[in-house]
Symmetry: C2
Subunit: 175 residues, 2 copies
DNA sequence: GCCTCTCGGTTCGGTGAATGAACCGAGGCT
DNA sequence: AGCCTCGGTTCATTCACCGAACCGAGAGGC
């Protein structure tokens, strides 16, 4: 999105936040990071994003302190991208937006469910646990699972396959 | 943003939501609507958005049922854009994102405060009232006010001036 | 040594969207 | 009539996105 110079007089941090997080693809990359996607190639295969755009977004997010680049093997040298604390806080934005989209533009049944791992209760629209009365379930305590609405021809990329296979804790490595 | 055809396999309503709400400028238009901005010219003056882009975004938002176009005078014929219920629900996305931006990219003091109108308590980062224990303060019950951090040379457009003047209930007409 | 494969990018030509300035038409006001 | 405001549309330029091709480091086979 990058409002560039124009945002400056905006007198509101929403504009500044959107400079970082409001660009095309960026929130989908961060969503995948919550799902446990960590490697360039996996983001690429799951998102159908142009390679150059993905490289640019990852670099921007690292620079902004939302993702962290971490070497996980030396030979050959490979890095993974992990959400920082700052990035993890974006769950309170991503989850409500996802649920809003589902409420208003869903054609069938839920594609994905999110439960409080401690008690198994489905989260409410702003990521609270109705059973525990927890008003802020942290992403690390959430278990995501395939919902009842299964698409006719599901994607076959490794990330999509892994996401369908079994319940999975957010932020834990998916592959 | 408009992911176009690419979102289809995404298996996630976040992509669909971003098609509508993730385009450049769109969330800022909706934020202004929460502030009580209702007319084309006021959005234009406050956002420094190209006229054509604003016209396009307003039309898209009306078509998506997020804004509603309402004739408020007949001579000359003038319409205003009001948030629908569907649009109002986006507060749970916009507010956390705004506060996230403020926490991490603020250079000085808060530019704007949001209080629960019933008790005057400042809202927490996800729009709850710590005093009342209310876990979902509706936008209509929120009073916005200028914060202690005043910019050196504040904007002089009518909307910016009105926003500085006094505390103001969200969704109520600003001008 | 050499071929080939994977991974994580970069490069590059083509396209579509954003930008900003100019223009336009309906409808007051004097 | 002449001028103003409001809410757009038009249009040429600029910029970001796109997708396909290319590239370099390193591993593994032979």
């Amino acid at each position: 999105m990058a409002l560039g110079k124009n945002y400056e007089g905006q007198n509101c941090y929403l504009a500044r936040a959107l400079e970082l997080v409001g660009e095309r693809w960026t929130l989908l990359v961060i969503r995948d990071a919550f799902y446990g996607v960590r490697r360039y190639g996996d983001f690429l295969g799951h998102l159908d994003i142009p390679r150059a755009v993905l490289a640019d977004r990852l670099a921007t997010l690292v620079e902004a302190g939302i993702l962290e680049r971490h070497r996980y093997q030396d030979s050959p040298p490979r890095d993974e991208y992990l959400l920082t604390e700052r990035g993890t806080e974006l769950w309170s934005v991503i989850f409500p937006l996802m649920r809003w989209g589902e409420r208003h533009f869903s054609t069938g049944e839920s594609l994905r469910t999110f439960r409080h791992a401690a008690c198994g209760t489905e989260l409410d629209p702003v990521s609270r646990c109705p059973a525990c009365g927890l008003t802020d379930v942290a992403p690390g305590d959430i278990e995501a699972d395939t919902g009842p609405g299964v698409p006719a021809q599901p994607r076959q990329d490794p990330v999509s396959v892994a996401l369908r296979r079994r319940p999975h804790r957010l932020l834990q490595p998916l592959l």
